[in-house]
């Protein structure tokens, strides 16, 4: 286990470093003087010159990168041009919304995707399986923002049951009841991702069905439901657990669209808004943080998977 851990973490750090280098240079790929690009059209030549000095643009690229990286490691992601506050502060502000949205979405995905996948596998080949499978594939093909807009129309505009946009913190006035602001966004975001879990649960259960020990259990006369729960589901769960991990990781980037539809004050919407505002330090900082989170979740999933399935370590 230890050797696997070392090898897996050994692959994580270089990837993160290389990705951070890409994120660092991408702003320099935009045509024009980076300082002028960052400050926009209205900037005075003096301000541009000051930023050039601050960014160390006269130095070599390697020196610039190392300086930037050491700032990042110390938690300094630079300042937002639009808001005039540290980028890290903005990210921390948006984190509550994004994390809660992701967790709530996962609740739907697990609560809906697992049982539906199990039923489809247990009734494989039947009309029920066919329609559940067809439905899940359709869900995977529907744009989340479109689902979100119609959820707003039905549940907020027509029925008036739920708020259509925004999210006040659960630590402020309203408390946990504010979670209702995330109900519609999380359902919209869950739809395509639940489809993936349904398909994976079904497929991995069918894989396990073909194993000898399942045939033995059935031949022994064990009740079919018990076979499904004790023998098939428990072993199929392994694949599904790792799918939860990379679904969670995928949610981070898909939330970009959902947060925009529902005007949620999360990190994803900030990425889009800072792109539209050309607020490059914020773009750079948020992308870096999202990639870090994405890689960390994937690393955690791999380690969890190896821990659950001892066979992995031997490979």
């Amino acid at each position: 286990m230890l050797r696997y851990l070392i090898r897996r973490i050994g692959a994580f750090l270089p990837t993160l470093l290389a990705a951070s280098f890409l994120i660092f240079v991408f702003i320099r790929l935009i045509p024009g003087d980076p300082a002028a690009v960052m400050l926009g059209d209205q900037a005075t030549p003096e301000a541009i010159e000051a930023l050039r000095v601050e960014m160390g643009l006269e130095e070599s690229l390697a020196v610039q990168y190392l300086r930037w990286l050491s700032d990042v490691v110390r938690g300094d992601l630079g300042d937002s041009i639009f808001f005039q506050v540290p980028v890290l502060e903005l990210i921390v502000d948006g984190l509550e919304t994004s994390v809660l949205l992701a967790l709530m979405t996962m609740v739907w995905i697990v609560g809906f995707g697992l049982p539906v996948g199990m039923v489809a596998a247990a009734r494989r080949g039947s009309w029920l399986d066919q329609s559940l499978s067809g439905m899940s594939m359709f869900l995977a093909s529907v744009p989340t923002f479109w689902v979100g807009l119609y959820l707003i129309l039905i549940f907020a505009a027509i029925l008036g049951w739920l708020p259509s946009s925004g999210y006040p913190s659960i630590f402020g006035e309203g408390g946990l009841a504010n979670l209702r602001y995330l109900l519609l966004p999380s359902i919209a975001l869950a739809a395509p991702n639940a489809a993936l879990i349904i398909r994976l649960t079904r497929a991995s259960m069918l894989d396990v069905y073909r194993e000898d020990y399942v045939r033995t259990a059935r031949a022994k006369g064990i009740h079919p439901l018990r076979v499904i729960v004790r023998h098939v589901f428990r072993n199929a769960l392994l694949t599904v657990v790792s799918a939860f991990g990379f679904t969670l990781a995928a949610l981070i980037s898909e939330a970009v669209v959902t947060e925009t539809v529902f005007s949620l004050p999360g990190v994803g919407r900030m990425v889009v808004q800072s792109i539209l505002r050309r607020d490059y330090p914020v773009i750079q900082g948020t992308i870096l943080m999202i990639v870090l989170l994405y890689l960390a979740i994937n690393l955690a999933v791999d380690i969890l998977y190896a821990w659950l399935d001892p066979r992995v370590k031997l490979r």
């Binding site: 990837t15 594939m137 923002f145 479109w146 991702n193 980037s253 992308i287 990639v291």
Partner: protein, 285 residues
Amino acid sequence: MTTYATATGFGGQKLAFAGLLIIATLAVCALFAPWLAPADPIAIDPLVRLSPPSAAHWFGTDHFGRDTLSRVIHGSRMAAFIGIGVVAIALGGGITFGVLSAVFPRLGMLLMRIVDVMMAFPALLLALALIVVLGRGVENSILAIGVVYMTTTARIVYGVSLRLKSEVWVDAALAMGARTPRIVFRHILPNLVSPLFVQASFVFAFAQLQAASLDFLGLGVPPETPTWGNMISESRIYITRAPWLLLFPGLMIALAAFSLNLVGDAARDRLDPRLQAAFGGRSRS
């Protein structure tokens, strides 16, 4: 006893056939849009703005009084163009990097690490980052989304090529004195055709959803061009007054992606089971 295809497949062949029919219909729309559309997709008529579906305007009209049906039909042109462009870049780059990596292991080490780094970015985020550098536009959307799926394609091609390289017939060819180009063109590339067909249909489907997302965020195709994503983006503020405006373009995106997924799924089930492994694990959605 269920067959392998029904045990793993979703829906089966009938659904895949339905998918093909939908794709063919959309292709006809894209090819003959100017003749099929009842009206000019950009003709403004303030007198009939936001009118519900009627005999004159089957899908209603938008806030400029433009005919939604005509815009939806013309939207299929851009959808097809973007899909074909993205598939060309993803497959062209993916085949080149994947096969080169499998044939030249040292180069492969380097190229596959680059792919790893690109895959450290979530799909939509990588596309967004590329748009920041390239600026918005049709070609840039295609390039950005194409690069995203080039990475997954390269990895699949690499996996399949490595497997093919270790087959006995390649050993036999090598023993008979075949050189690398011959191995690549006679033994590897022809065997990549079916897995790449599967990959192409999935990439085409993903491209529809990603391009629509970029358009919706205001970072894709310029708003004056009628694309399904732009239509939803423009009409979203009228959703309570004219909910039908968003219905048809959204359905078209879903229908296009759904039918492509159906075809891809059915094709994957018919693949050699040993090659199916290449499509397992982490996909980019």
